[in-house]
Amino acid sequence: MALRMWASSTANALKISCASKPHLSFSRCFSTVLDGLKYAESHEWVKHEGSVATIGITDHAQDHLGEVVFVELPEPGGSVSKGKGFGAVESVKATSDVNSPISGEIVEVNSKLSEAPGMINSSPYEEGWMIKVKPSSSSELESLMSSKEYTEFCEEEDASH
């Protein structure tokens, strides 16, 4: 996601109180970061399961975008490259590029987002997934940030602004 961390409003800070889900990482930044996923500095996440990696944008990203009203996604069968844009989201007045954390072949696209783009806001790590990719390089996955590293990255970004 072409975004950086932004200090959130008091209302967003309430998200940190959701301690009931054991897979959540506590974060001093005011959005959810899930364990078990890998993260890019441009605020996309990757979930690697077997031969497929699922990609979406993080809770930080959707929070700073605002209400997502339109999602532009590629076609299955195409390819993505690490660090390059593969689609865009529109929120109110802005389109924002979404960048792929890894390279590979697109095997599936979340077509439900065309009718329900708001799933990116309401469920950024689950229903709001964007594409599924067959990774072409395992080293690219390993170079991404862990949930702990991403949390710290967000905190450092927030502190620098």
Binding site: H64, L65, F70, G85, K93, A94
Partner: protein, 259 residues
């Protein structure tokens, strides 16, 4: 205007290009190309566009936003631009101001929609100081609760664009081509076009507005004026913009499909 050199020390460089009556399609395609291919900062000012043209945002649905039958009957051109946001009808009474910036160009500015919008309002607050009751209301520039400037953005990995169409004047008849949008700011309160918008010309002379905008930009950037021929060099690259006219066939199909 001459900006004292001592004030420019340490300010990031920004290219300033001024046009008058440049076709809006050409302006938007230039902007899209600069956003995607240039590593420099840009301010583009287009003082009016010659032909009345409808400009929709990237996800605009013609059937929802336009009176398609009238648009087709009167052969009003319709553009889908590369930035987000709503639909406008522009003509020679519209003044366009665009900022294209690298992410580091504005210190401490986080490059996503709301901070950029807020930064823009700070810049224009200098332009309209003491004039009317200027404010940024949701995502619009207003005097009081009447809109005179609409904004749109696009944010990439390393750059962002924020562009504005200012209603210096408008033809009431042109508003009839636009439907009331489904997504509207709360402060609009379901007002029709004519009750919602106002004319900048009632507040400030045209040339004064442009000069003050350049002056305000000069407080944050070291402006370098480029002649329009510089853009011809840019357009010789292989970049293919997404901004384009919609065809009559597309508009007719949209009307049939209700999209």
């Amino acid at each position: 205007m001459i900006i004292p050199q001592t004030r420019n020390i340490g300010l990031p460089m920004m290219n300033l290009m001024r046009f008058k009556g440049l076709p809006i399609l050409q302006q938007l395609q230039i902007e899209e190309q600069l956003l995607r291919t240039s590593s420099e900062n840009w301010c583009i000012i287009n003082d009016g566009t010659n032909d009345p043209t409808i400009v929709m945002g990237v996800s605009g649905k013609p059937a929802e936003l336009l009176e398609i039958e009238s648009v087709l009957r009167d052969q009003v051109p319709v553009i889908r631009r590369f930035t987000g946001g709503g639909t406008v009808i522009v003509d020679n009474g519209t003044i366009f101001v665009t900022f294209i910036c690298n992410k580091e160009a504005v210190p401490d500015l986080q490059p996503y929609p709301r901070p950029i919008m807020s930064w823009s309002s700070t810049l224009y607050s200098k332009v309209f100081q003491g004039i009317g009751d200027f404010n940024l209301r949701e995502n619009d520039y207003v005097f009081g609760n009447h809109k005179f400037g609409g904004n749109a953005q696009s944010i990439t990995k390393n750059k962002w664009i924020h562009h504005t169409s200012f209603l210096w004047d408008f033809d009431v008849r042109n508003m009839a081509y636009l439907k009331l949008p489904k997504r509207a700011p709360a402060y609009r309160s379901a007002r029709g076009h004519l009750d919602f918008i106002c004319r900048l010309k009632d507040y400030m002379p045209r040339s004064i507005f442009i000069d003050k905008t350049v002056e305000a930009a000069g407080t944050q950037f070291s402006l370098r004026s480029l002649k329009s021929e510089a853009i011809e060099t840019c357009s010789k690259t292989e970049f293919c913009p997404s901004t384009r006219f919609l065809t009559n066939e597309e508009l007719e199909a949209a009307a049939v499909a209700g999209q």
